[in-house]
Symmetry: C2
Subunit: 275 residues, 2 copies
Protein backbone atom coordinates (compact mmCIF):
# COMPACT_ATOMS: atom_id res chain seq x y z
CA UNK A 1 0.00 0.00 0.00
CA UNK A 2 2.76 2.39 0.98
CA UNK A 3 4.32 2.00 -2.44
CA UNK A 4 1.24 3.58 -4.00
CA UNK A 5 1.44 6.76 -1.94
CA UNK A 6 3.07 9.43 -4.04
CA UNK A 7 6.11 11.31 -2.77
CA UNK A 8 5.94 14.98 -3.72
CA UNK A 9 9.14 17.00 -3.57
CA UNK A 10 8.72 20.68 -2.69
CA UNK A 11 11.58 23.10 -3.14
CA UNK A 12 12.15 26.66 -2.02
CA UNK A 13 15.11 28.89 -1.20
CA UNK A 14 13.87 28.99 2.38
CA UNK A 15 10.62 29.14 4.28
CA UNK A 16 8.20 30.82 1.89
CA UNK A 17 7.51 27.59 0.01
CA UNK A 18 5.91 26.28 3.19
CA UNK A 19 2.86 28.40 2.32
CA UNK A 20 2.64 26.26 -0.85
CA UNK A 21 3.15 23.06 1.15
CA UNK A 22 0.31 24.18 3.42
CA UNK A 23 -2.01 24.47 0.40
CA UNK A 24 -0.79 21.11 -0.95
CA UNK A 25 -1.62 19.44 2.38
CA UNK A 26 -5.17 20.77 2.16
CA UNK A 27 -5.72 19.64 -1.43
CA UNK A 28 -3.68 16.40 -1.35
CA UNK A 29 -3.57 15.18 2.25
CA UNK A 30 -2.95 11.55 1.25
CA UNK A 31 0.63 11.93 -0.04
CA UNK A 32 4.11 12.04 1.43
CA UNK A 33 6.15 15.20 1.14
CA UNK A 34 9.85 15.99 1.08
CA UNK A 35 10.50 19.72 1.51
CA UNK A 36 13.90 21.19 0.67
CA UNK A 37 14.72 24.70 1.96
CA UNK A 38 18.04 26.04 0.65
CA UNK A 39 18.35 28.27 3.70
CA UNK A 40 22.16 28.51 3.59
CA UNK A 41 21.94 30.32 0.26
CA UNK A 42 18.75 32.33 0.60
CA UNK A 43 17.49 34.75 -0.52
CA UNK A 44 17.36 33.91 -4.21
CA UNK A 45 15.40 37.10 -4.92
CA UNK A 46 18.48 39.27 -5.39
CA UNK A 47 20.63 36.74 -7.29
CA UNK A 48 21.34 36.22 -10.98
CA UNK A 49 19.76 33.67 -13.32
CA UNK A 50 22.81 31.41 -13.51
CA UNK A 51 23.28 31.25 -9.78
CA UNK A 52 19.60 30.57 -9.07
CA UNK A 53 19.43 27.91 -11.81
CA UNK A 54 22.51 26.11 -10.51
CA UNK A 55 21.19 26.06 -6.93
CA UNK A 56 17.70 24.98 -7.96
CA UNK A 57 18.95 22.09 -10.13
CA UNK A 58 21.05 20.80 -7.22
CA UNK A 59 18.02 20.89 -4.96
CA UNK A 60 15.86 19.15 -7.58
CA UNK A 61 18.37 16.31 -7.86
CA UNK A 62 18.53 16.02 -4.10
CA UNK A 63 14.75 15.61 -3.86
CA UNK A 64 14.73 13.06 -6.69
CA UNK A 65 17.40 11.08 -4.88
CA UNK A 66 14.97 11.00 -1.94
CA UNK A 67 12.24 9.44 -4.03
CA UNK A 68 10.28 12.49 -5.23
CA UNK A 69 8.01 11.48 -8.15
CA UNK A 70 6.93 15.04 -8.84
CA UNK A 71 8.66 18.32 -8.06
CA UNK A 72 6.96 21.53 -7.01
CA UNK A 73 9.14 24.63 -7.38
CA UNK A 74 7.47 26.52 -4.56
CA UNK A 75 9.60 29.61 -5.12
CA UNK A 76 8.61 32.36 -7.51
CA UNK A 77 12.20 33.41 -8.16
CA UNK A 78 13.38 29.88 -8.98
CA UNK A 79 10.30 29.31 -11.16
CA UNK A 80 10.67 32.64 -12.93
CA UNK A 81 14.39 32.29 -13.57
CA UNK A 82 15.00 28.58 -13.90
CA UNK A 83 11.89 26.47 -14.49
CA UNK A 84 13.11 25.47 -17.96
CA UNK A 85 16.51 24.41 -16.71
CA UNK A 86 15.06 22.51 -13.76
CA UNK A 87 12.57 20.73 -16.04
CA UNK A 88 15.38 19.74 -18.42
CA UNK A 89 17.60 18.51 -15.60
CA UNK A 90 14.89 16.57 -13.73
CA UNK A 91 13.68 13.05 -14.50
CA UNK A 92 10.18 13.60 -13.08
CA UNK A 93 7.44 16.17 -13.85
CA UNK A 94 8.06 19.68 -12.53
CA UNK A 95 5.39 22.23 -11.54
CA UNK A 96 6.20 25.89 -10.94
CA UNK A 97 4.12 28.60 -9.27
CA UNK A 98 3.98 31.23 -12.02
CA UNK A 99 1.63 29.53 -14.51
CA UNK A 100 -0.95 28.50 -11.87
CA UNK A 101 -0.80 32.04 -10.43
CA UNK A 102 -1.36 33.59 -13.85
CA UNK A 103 -4.24 31.19 -14.49
CA UNK A 104 -6.01 32.16 -11.28
CA UNK A 105 -5.42 35.86 -12.00
CA UNK A 106 -6.96 35.44 -15.46
CA UNK A 107 -10.04 33.82 -13.93
CA UNK A 108 -10.39 36.55 -11.28
CA UNK A 109 -10.01 39.72 -13.38
CA UNK A 110 -12.89 41.56 -15.01
CA UNK A 111 -11.10 44.52 -16.60
CA UNK A 112 -8.05 42.47 -17.62
CA UNK A 113 -5.46 44.56 -15.76
CA UNK A 114 -3.24 42.86 -13.21
CA UNK A 115 -0.63 44.09 -10.74
CA UNK A 116 2.10 41.60 -9.76
CA UNK A 117 4.43 42.12 -6.79
CA UNK A 118 7.54 40.04 -6.11
CA UNK A 119 11.28 40.02 -5.47
CA UNK A 120 13.70 41.95 -7.64
CA UNK A 121 14.74 38.82 -9.55
CA UNK A 122 11.19 37.57 -10.18
CA UNK A 123 10.07 40.97 -11.44
CA UNK A 124 13.17 41.52 -13.63
CA UNK A 125 12.56 38.17 -15.33
CA UNK A 126 9.09 39.36 -16.50
CA UNK A 127 7.91 35.76 -16.12
CA UNK A 128 4.51 36.91 -14.82
CA UNK A 129 4.06 39.56 -17.49
CA UNK A 130 4.75 36.98 -20.19
CA UNK A 131 2.38 34.45 -18.62
CA UNK A 132 -0.35 37.10 -18.25
CA UNK A 133 0.11 38.59 -21.72
CA UNK A 134 -0.19 35.07 -23.18
CA UNK A 135 -3.71 35.15 -21.69
CA UNK A 136 -4.47 38.55 -23.22
CA UNK A 137 -4.06 40.47 -19.96
CA UNK A 138 -2.18 43.70 -19.21
CA UNK A 139 0.36 43.44 -16.41
CA UNK A 140 2.16 45.94 -14.19
CA UNK A 141 5.07 44.38 -12.30
CA UNK A 142 6.54 45.91 -9.14
CA UNK A 143 9.58 44.71 -7.17
CA UNK A 144 9.09 44.95 -3.39
CA UNK A 145 12.49 43.93 -1.93
CA UNK A 146 11.65 45.02 1.64
CA UNK A 147 8.60 42.81 2.13
CA UNK A 148 10.51 39.55 2.63
CA UNK A 149 12.78 40.95 5.38
CA UNK A 150 9.74 42.56 7.04
CA UNK A 151 7.91 39.21 7.09
CA UNK A 152 11.03 37.49 8.44
CA UNK A 153 11.30 40.16 11.17
CA UNK A 154 7.76 39.09 12.12
CA UNK A 155 6.32 42.55 11.42
CA UNK A 156 3.32 41.19 9.48
CA UNK A 157 0.90 43.63 11.15
CA UNK A 158 3.34 46.48 11.86
CA UNK A 159 2.82 50.13 11.01
CA UNK A 160 6.18 50.23 9.19
CA UNK A 161 5.17 47.33 6.97
CA UNK A 162 1.87 49.02 6.20
CA UNK A 163 3.73 52.22 5.24
CA UNK A 164 6.17 50.28 3.01
CA UNK A 165 3.26 48.42 1.38
CA UNK A 166 1.46 51.75 0.80
CA UNK A 167 4.54 53.12 -0.99
CA UNK A 168 4.99 50.03 -3.16
CA UNK A 169 1.29 49.57 -4.01
CA UNK A 170 0.85 53.31 -4.52
CA UNK A 171 3.52 53.18 -7.22
CA UNK A 172 2.06 50.01 -8.74
CA UNK A 173 -1.62 51.07 -8.88
CA UNK A 174 -0.86 54.28 -10.78
CA UNK A 175 -0.39 55.56 -14.34
CA UNK A 176 -3.06 53.57 -16.12
CA UNK A 177 -3.21 50.79 -13.53
CA UNK A 178 -5.38 52.57 -10.93
CA UNK A 179 -8.24 50.36 -12.10
CA UNK A 180 -6.30 47.06 -12.09
CA UNK A 181 -8.57 44.66 -10.20
CA UNK A 182 -6.23 41.77 -9.31
CA UNK A 183 -3.08 41.80 -7.19
CA UNK A 184 -0.92 38.71 -7.67
CA UNK A 185 1.36 37.85 -4.74
CA UNK A 186 4.38 36.76 -6.76
CA UNK A 187 6.41 35.63 -3.75
CA UNK A 188 5.62 32.83 -1.33
CA UNK A 189 6.39 35.05 1.67
CA UNK A 190 3.60 37.45 0.86
CA UNK A 191 0.57 35.32 1.85
CA UNK A 192 1.50 36.15 5.47
CA UNK A 193 0.82 39.81 4.60
CA UNK A 194 -2.63 39.15 3.09
CA UNK A 195 -4.70 40.86 5.83
CA UNK A 196 -2.45 43.95 5.69
CA UNK A 197 -2.41 44.03 1.88
CA UNK A 198 -6.22 43.79 1.82
CA UNK A 199 -6.32 47.02 3.87
CA UNK A 200 -3.69 48.79 1.77
CA UNK A 201 -4.75 47.78 -1.77
CA UNK A 202 -7.64 49.64 -3.45
CA UNK A 203 -10.93 48.19 -2.20
CA UNK A 204 -11.99 46.77 -5.59
CA UNK A 205 -8.88 44.55 -5.81
CA UNK A 206 -8.86 40.75 -5.54
CA UNK A 207 -5.69 39.27 -4.06
CA UNK A 208 -4.42 36.09 -5.71
CA UNK A 209 -1.68 33.91 -4.32
CA UNK A 210 -0.49 31.00 -6.36
CA UNK A 211 -0.26 28.49 -3.53
CA UNK A 212 -3.81 27.18 -3.89
CA UNK A 213 -3.84 27.07 -7.69
CA UNK A 214 -0.44 25.38 -7.67
CA UNK A 215 -1.83 22.72 -5.35
CA UNK A 216 -4.74 22.10 -7.71
CA UNK A 217 -2.35 21.81 -10.69
CA UNK A 218 -0.28 19.28 -8.76
CA UNK A 219 -3.42 17.26 -7.94
CA UNK A 220 -4.19 17.11 -11.67
CA UNK A 221 -0.68 15.83 -12.48
CA UNK A 222 -0.94 13.17 -9.79
CA UNK A 223 -4.11 11.79 -11.36
CA UNK A 224 -2.19 11.15 -14.57
CA UNK A 225 1.00 10.03 -12.89
CA UNK A 226 -0.37 7.73 -10.22
CA UNK A 227 -3.93 6.54 -10.80
CA UNK A 228 -5.89 6.05 -7.55
CA UNK A 229 -5.11 2.84 -5.65
CA UNK A 230 -7.45 -0.18 -5.47
CA UNK A 231 -8.88 0.92 -2.18
CA UNK A 232 -8.89 4.70 -2.20
CA UNK A 233 -10.60 4.90 1.20
CA UNK A 234 -7.64 3.30 2.97
CA UNK A 235 -5.28 5.56 1.06
CA UNK A 236 -7.10 8.71 2.04
CA UNK A 237 -7.27 7.83 5.66
CA UNK A 238 -3.50 7.93 5.85
CA UNK A 239 -2.01 11.15 7.17
CA UNK A 240 0.62 12.96 5.10
CA UNK A 241 4.18 12.23 6.16
CA UNK A 242 6.48 15.23 6.05
CA UNK A 243 10.24 15.29 5.78
CA UNK A 244 12.17 18.55 5.83
CA UNK A 245 15.67 19.23 4.56
CA UNK A 246 17.50 22.51 5.19
CA UNK A 247 20.97 23.65 4.19
CA UNK A 248 21.37 26.03 7.14
CA UNK A 249 20.46 25.80 10.85
CA UNK A 250 17.86 23.12 11.59
CA UNK A 251 16.79 24.91 14.75
CA UNK A 252 16.10 28.13 12.86
CA UNK A 253 14.17 26.22 10.20
CA UNK A 254 11.91 24.75 12.87
CA UNK A 255 11.37 28.10 14.57
CA UNK A 256 10.76 30.29 11.51
CA UNK A 257 9.16 27.57 9.41
CA UNK A 258 6.14 27.05 11.62
CA UNK A 259 5.04 30.65 11.00
CA UNK A 260 4.72 29.81 7.32
CA UNK A 261 3.35 26.27 7.60
CA UNK A 262 0.90 27.18 10.32
CA UNK A 263 1.82 24.27 12.56
CA UNK A 264 4.78 22.67 14.27
CA UNK A 265 7.72 21.29 12.30
CA UNK A 266 9.31 18.25 13.88
CA UNK A 267 11.65 16.37 11.62
CA UNK A 268 14.32 18.56 9.93
CA UNK A 269 17.52 17.12 8.53
CA UNK A 270 20.56 19.25 7.81
CA UNK A 271 21.89 18.89 4.26
CA UNK A 272 25.36 19.89 3.17
CA UNK A 273 25.45 20.39 -0.59
CA UNK A 274 29.26 20.18 -0.53
CA UNK A 275 30.01 23.60 -1.83
CA UNK B 1 59.63 47.70 -7.38
CA UNK B 2 56.23 46.21 -8.01
CA UNK B 3 57.19 43.16 -5.99
CA UNK B 4 57.50 45.35 -2.90
CA UNK B 5 53.95 46.68 -3.09
CA UNK B 6 51.82 44.72 -0.68
CA UNK B 7 48.68 42.98 -1.87
CA UNK B 8 45.90 43.25 0.68
CA UNK B 9 42.97 40.85 0.39
CA UNK B 10 39.63 42.21 1.55
CA UNK B 11 36.71 39.88 2.05
CA UNK B 12 32.99 40.46 2.63
CA UNK B 13 29.75 38.62 1.96
CA UNK B 14 28.83 41.39 -0.45
CA UNK B 15 29.15 45.16 -0.75
CA UNK B 16 29.36 46.37 2.84
CA UNK B 17 33.08 45.60 3.06
CA UNK B 18 33.63 48.28 0.44
CA UNK B 19 33.17 50.84 3.24
CA UNK B 20 36.22 49.23 4.87
CA UNK B 21 38.12 49.22 1.56
CA UNK B 22 37.33 52.93 1.27
CA UNK B 23 38.96 53.56 4.67
CA UNK B 24 41.93 51.36 3.72
CA UNK B 25 42.49 53.39 0.55
CA UNK B 26 42.64 56.57 2.61
CA UNK B 27 45.08 55.17 5.18
CA UNK B 28 47.15 52.94 2.85
CA UNK B 29 46.90 54.35 -0.67
CA UNK B 30 50.17 52.77 -1.80
CA UNK B 31 49.08 49.13 -1.86
CA UNK B 32 47.25 46.81 -4.21
CA UNK B 33 43.89 45.40 -3.21
CA UNK B 34 41.95 42.28 -4.09
CA UNK B 35 38.34 42.49 -2.91
CA UNK B 36 36.19 39.38 -2.77
CA UNK B 37 32.39 39.81 -2.44
CA UNK B 38 30.55 36.53 -1.93
CA UNK B 39 27.42 38.03 -3.44
CA UNK B 40 25.93 34.71 -4.58
CA UNK B 41 25.61 33.60 -0.97
CA UNK B 42 24.88 36.86 0.84
CA UNK B 43 23.60 37.79 3.32
CA UNK B 44 25.67 36.01 5.96
CA UNK B 45 23.82 37.88 8.73
CA UNK B 46 21.03 35.33 9.04
CA UNK B 47 23.16 32.19 8.61
CA UNK B 48 24.67 29.74 11.11
CA UNK B 49 28.27 29.62 12.36
CA UNK B 50 29.24 26.53 10.36
CA UNK B 51 27.90 27.86 7.08
CA UNK B 52 29.52 31.28 7.50
CA UNK B 53 32.86 29.73 8.52
CA UNK B 54 32.88 27.40 5.52
CA UNK B 55 32.12 30.21 3.08
CA UNK B 56 34.64 32.59 4.65
CA UNK B 57 37.48 30.05 4.60
CA UNK B 58 36.84 29.40 0.89
CA UNK B 59 37.01 33.11 0.19
CA UNK B 60 40.20 33.49 2.24
CA UNK B 61 41.90 30.71 0.26
CA UNK B 62 40.76 32.31 -2.97
CA UNK B 63 42.34 35.65 -2.03
CA UNK B 64 45.56 33.93 -0.93
CA UNK B 65 45.71 32.17 -4.29
CA UNK B 66 45.59 35.65 -5.83
CA UNK B 67 48.62 36.77 -3.89
CA UNK B 68 47.09 38.39 -0.80
CA UNK B 69 49.78 38.83 1.86
CA UNK B 70 47.33 40.00 4.49
CA UNK B 71 43.60 39.36 4.81
CA UNK B 72 41.03 41.82 6.07
CA UNK B 73 37.72 40.23 7.04
CA UNK B 74 35.63 43.31 6.26
CA UNK B 75 32.41 41.68 7.42
CA UNK B 76 31.22 41.83 10.99
CA UNK B 77 29.29 38.57 10.74
CA UNK B 78 32.23 36.61 9.32
CA UNK B 79 34.57 38.17 11.90
CA UNK B 80 32.18 37.52 14.78
CA UNK B 81 31.42 33.95 13.80
CA UNK B 82 34.54 32.68 12.10
CA UNK B 83 37.68 34.78 12.69
CA UNK B 84 39.35 31.93 14.61
CA UNK B 85 38.64 29.41 11.88
CA UNK B 86 39.75 31.77 9.12
CA UNK B 87 42.97 32.58 11.00
CA UNK B 88 43.69 28.86 11.46
CA UNK B 89 43.00 28.08 7.81
CA UNK B 90 44.96 31.01 6.35
CA UNK B 91 48.71 31.16 5.73
CA UNK B 92 48.93 34.96 6.08
CA UNK B 93 47.94 37.37 8.87
CA UNK B 94 44.20 37.99 9.26
CA UNK B 95 42.58 41.16 10.60
CA UNK B 96 38.90 41.30 11.56
CA UNK B 97 36.67 44.31 12.24
CA UNK B 98 35.39 43.54 15.75
CA UNK B 99 38.58 44.13 17.79
CA UNK B 100 39.42 47.46 16.10
CA UNK B 101 35.80 48.56 16.54
CA UNK B 102 35.84 47.66 20.23
CA UNK B 103 39.16 49.48 20.65
CA UNK B 104 37.78 52.69 19.14
CA UNK B 105 34.64 52.42 21.26
CA UNK B 106 36.75 52.05 24.41
CA UNK B 107 38.68 55.19 23.50
CA UNK B 108 35.50 57.16 22.77
CA UNK B 109 33.35 56.33 25.81
CA UNK B 110 33.30 58.33 29.03
CA UNK B 111 30.67 56.50 31.08
CA UNK B 112 31.77 53.07 29.85
CA UNK B 113 28.41 52.02 28.41
CA UNK B 114 28.22 51.03 24.76
CA UNK B 115 25.37 50.13 22.42
CA UNK B 116 26.25 47.84 19.49
CA UNK B 117 23.92 47.30 16.51
CA UNK B 118 24.41 44.60 13.87
CA UNK B 119 22.91 41.66 12.01
CA UNK B 120 21.15 38.83 13.79
CA UNK B 121 24.20 36.54 13.50
CA UNK B 122 26.74 39.13 14.68
CA UNK B 123 24.62 40.03 17.71
CA UNK B 124 23.84 36.39 18.62
CA UNK B 125 27.54 35.61 18.63
CA UNK B 126 28.14 38.25 21.37
CA UNK B 127 31.55 38.89 19.80
CA UNK B 128 31.26 42.63 20.50
CA UNK B 129 30.05 42.17 24.06
CA UNK B 130 33.01 39.89 24.78
CA UNK B 131 35.49 42.31 23.18
CA UNK B 132 34.01 45.27 25.10
CA UNK B 133 33.77 43.45 28.43
CA UNK B 134 37.43 42.48 28.07
CA UNK B 135 38.06 46.25 28.15
CA UNK B 136 35.91 46.71 31.25
CA UNK B 137 32.96 48.20 29.36
CA UNK B 138 29.26 47.42 29.62
CA UNK B 139 27.60 46.50 26.33
CA UNK B 140 24.03 46.36 25.08
CA UNK B 141 23.71 44.49 21.78
CA UNK B 142 20.74 44.94 19.44
CA UNK B 143 20.03 43.04 16.20
CA UNK B 144 18.66 45.29 13.42
CA UNK B 145 17.86 42.88 10.55
CA UNK B 146 15.92 45.45 8.49
CA UNK B 147 18.73 47.98 8.14
CA UNK B 148 20.72 46.05 5.52
CA UNK B 149 17.75 45.60 3.15
CA UNK B 150 16.81 49.27 3.65
CA UNK B 151 20.35 50.35 2.67
CA UNK B 152 20.28 48.02 -0.33
CA UNK B 153 16.89 49.48 -1.36
CA UNK B 154 18.70 52.84 -1.40
CA UNK B 155 16.46 54.28 1.33
CA UNK B 156 19.36 55.77 3.32
CA UNK B 157 17.48 59.04 3.96
CA UNK B 158 13.94 57.70 3.87
CA UNK B 159 11.22 58.31 6.47
CA UNK B 160 10.62 54.57 6.79
CA UNK B 161 14.28 53.94 7.57
CA UNK B 162 14.22 56.70 10.17
CA UNK B 163 11.15 55.13 11.78
CA UNK B 164 12.77 51.67 11.81
CA UNK B 165 15.98 53.12 13.29
CA UNK B 166 13.91 54.92 15.96
CA UNK B 167 12.29 51.63 16.96
CA UNK B 168 15.60 49.73 17.09
CA UNK B 169 17.57 52.46 18.88
CA UNK B 170 14.64 53.19 21.21
CA UNK B 171 14.80 49.58 22.38
CA UNK B 172 18.60 49.64 22.63
CA UNK B 173 18.99 52.93 24.54
CA UNK B 174 16.61 51.86 27.33
CA UNK B 175 16.60 49.96 30.64
CA UNK B 176 19.89 51.12 32.09
CA UNK B 177 21.43 52.07 28.73
CA UNK B 178 19.70 55.43 28.24
CA UNK B 179 23.04 57.03 29.19
CA UNK B 180 25.23 54.86 26.90
CA UNK B 181 27.44 57.34 25.06
CA UNK B 182 28.82 55.30 22.16
CA UNK B 183 26.94 53.56 19.35
CA UNK B 184 29.06 50.99 17.50
CA UNK B 185 27.98 50.28 13.91
CA UNK B 186 28.59 46.53 13.96
CA UNK B 187 27.80 46.02 10.28
CA UNK B 188 29.66 47.40 7.30
CA UNK B 189 26.39 48.50 5.65
CA UNK B 190 25.57 50.92 8.43
CA UNK B 191 28.12 53.68 7.67
CA UNK B 192 25.78 54.71 4.83
CA UNK B 193 23.15 55.45 7.49
CA UNK B 194 25.44 57.61 9.63
CA UNK B 195 23.70 60.97 8.95
CA UNK B 196 20.29 59.44 9.71
CA UNK B 197 21.57 57.61 12.81
CA UNK B 198 23.10 60.84 14.11
CA UNK B 199 19.62 62.40 14.01
CA UNK B 200 17.91 59.40 15.60
CA UNK B 201 20.41 58.50 18.36
CA UNK B 202 20.39 60.50 21.62
CA UNK B 203 22.37 63.71 21.09
CA UNK B 204 25.15 62.81 23.56
CA UNK B 205 26.08 59.68 21.57
CA UNK B 206 29.29 59.21 19.57
CA UNK B 207 28.96 56.94 16.54
CA UNK B 208 31.86 54.56 15.92
CA UNK B 209 32.32 52.50 12.81
CA UNK B 210 35.14 50.05 12.66
CA UNK B 211 36.27 50.81 9.09
CA UNK B 212 38.76 53.51 10.04
CA UNK B 213 40.20 51.73 13.08
CA UNK B 214 40.48 48.53 11.05
CA UNK B 215 42.44 50.42 8.41
CA UNK B 216 44.86 51.73 11.07
CA UNK B 217 45.30 48.22 12.49
CA UNK B 218 46.11 46.94 8.99
CA UNK B 219 48.65 49.74 8.48
CA UNK B 220 50.39 48.63 11.71
CA UNK B 221 50.56 45.01 10.52
CA UNK B 222 51.99 46.09 7.17
CA UNK B 223 54.86 47.91 8.89
CA UNK B 224 55.90 44.61 10.49
CA UNK B 225 55.16 42.47 7.49
CA UNK B 226 56.69 44.54 4.72
CA UNK B 227 59.15 47.20 5.84
CA UNK B 228 59.10 50.31 3.62
CA UNK B 229 60.91 49.97 0.29
CA UNK B 230 64.30 51.55 -0.50
CA UNK B 231 62.72 54.48 -2.26
CA UNK B 232 59.51 55.18 -0.38
CA UNK B 233 58.75 58.28 -2.47
CA UNK B 234 58.34 56.26 -5.65
CA UNK B 235 56.27 53.73 -3.79
CA UNK B 236 53.89 56.30 -2.41
CA UNK B 237 53.39 58.02 -5.69
CA UNK B 238 51.87 54.85 -7.08
CA UNK B 239 48.09 54.69 -7.13
CA UNK B 240 46.35 51.72 -5.54
CA UNK B 241 45.39 49.02 -7.98
CA UNK B 242 42.02 47.44 -7.27
CA UNK B 243 40.75 44.04 -8.36
CA UNK B 244 37.24 42.91 -7.55
CA UNK B 245 35.90 39.37 -7.45
CA UNK B 246 32.18 38.59 -7.05
CA UNK B 247 30.35 35.26 -6.94
CA UNK B 248 27.09 36.68 -8.36
CA UNK B 249 26.30 39.18 -11.14
CA UNK B 250 29.26 41.38 -12.09
CA UNK B 251 26.95 44.07 -13.40
CA UNK B 252 25.07 44.27 -10.11
CA UNK B 253 28.35 44.41 -8.19
CA UNK B 254 29.45 47.39 -10.23
CA UNK B 255 26.14 49.17 -9.84
CA UNK B 256 25.53 48.61 -6.11
CA UNK B 257 29.19 48.59 -5.12
CA UNK B 258 29.90 52.18 -6.08
CA UNK B 259 27.37 53.39 -3.49
CA UNK B 260 29.53 51.80 -0.80
CA UNK B 261 32.96 52.58 -2.19
CA UNK B 262 32.04 56.14 -3.11
CA UNK B 263 33.47 55.95 -6.64
CA UNK B 264 33.21 53.93 -9.80
CA UNK B 265 34.10 50.23 -9.91
CA UNK B 266 35.63 49.11 -13.18
CA UNK B 267 37.26 45.73 -13.08
CA UNK B 268 35.04 42.97 -11.64
CA UNK B 269 35.68 39.30 -12.30
CA UNK B 270 33.01 36.65 -11.80
CA UNK B 271 34.13 33.78 -9.58
CA UNK B 272 32.46 30.40 -9.48
CA UNK B 273 33.37 28.64 -6.25
CA UNK B 274 32.26 25.30 -7.80
CA UNK B 275 29.53 24.52 -5.37
Amino acid sequence: MTARRPIIGVFDSGFGGLTVLKALLEVIPDADYAYFGDTARLPYGSKSVDTVARYAVEAAHYLESHGAQLLVIACNTATALALDRITQAAHVPVVGVVEPGAETAAAATKNRKIVVIGTEATISSHAYRKALEMRGLEAREKACPLLVPLVEEGWVEHGVTEQVARIYLGEAFADGFADADVLVLGCTHYPLLKPLLHRVAPSHVNIVDSAESTARTVAGHLQELLPPAGNPKDERRAVARLKFFATDSVEKFRRLGQRFLGHEIADVLHVDLKE
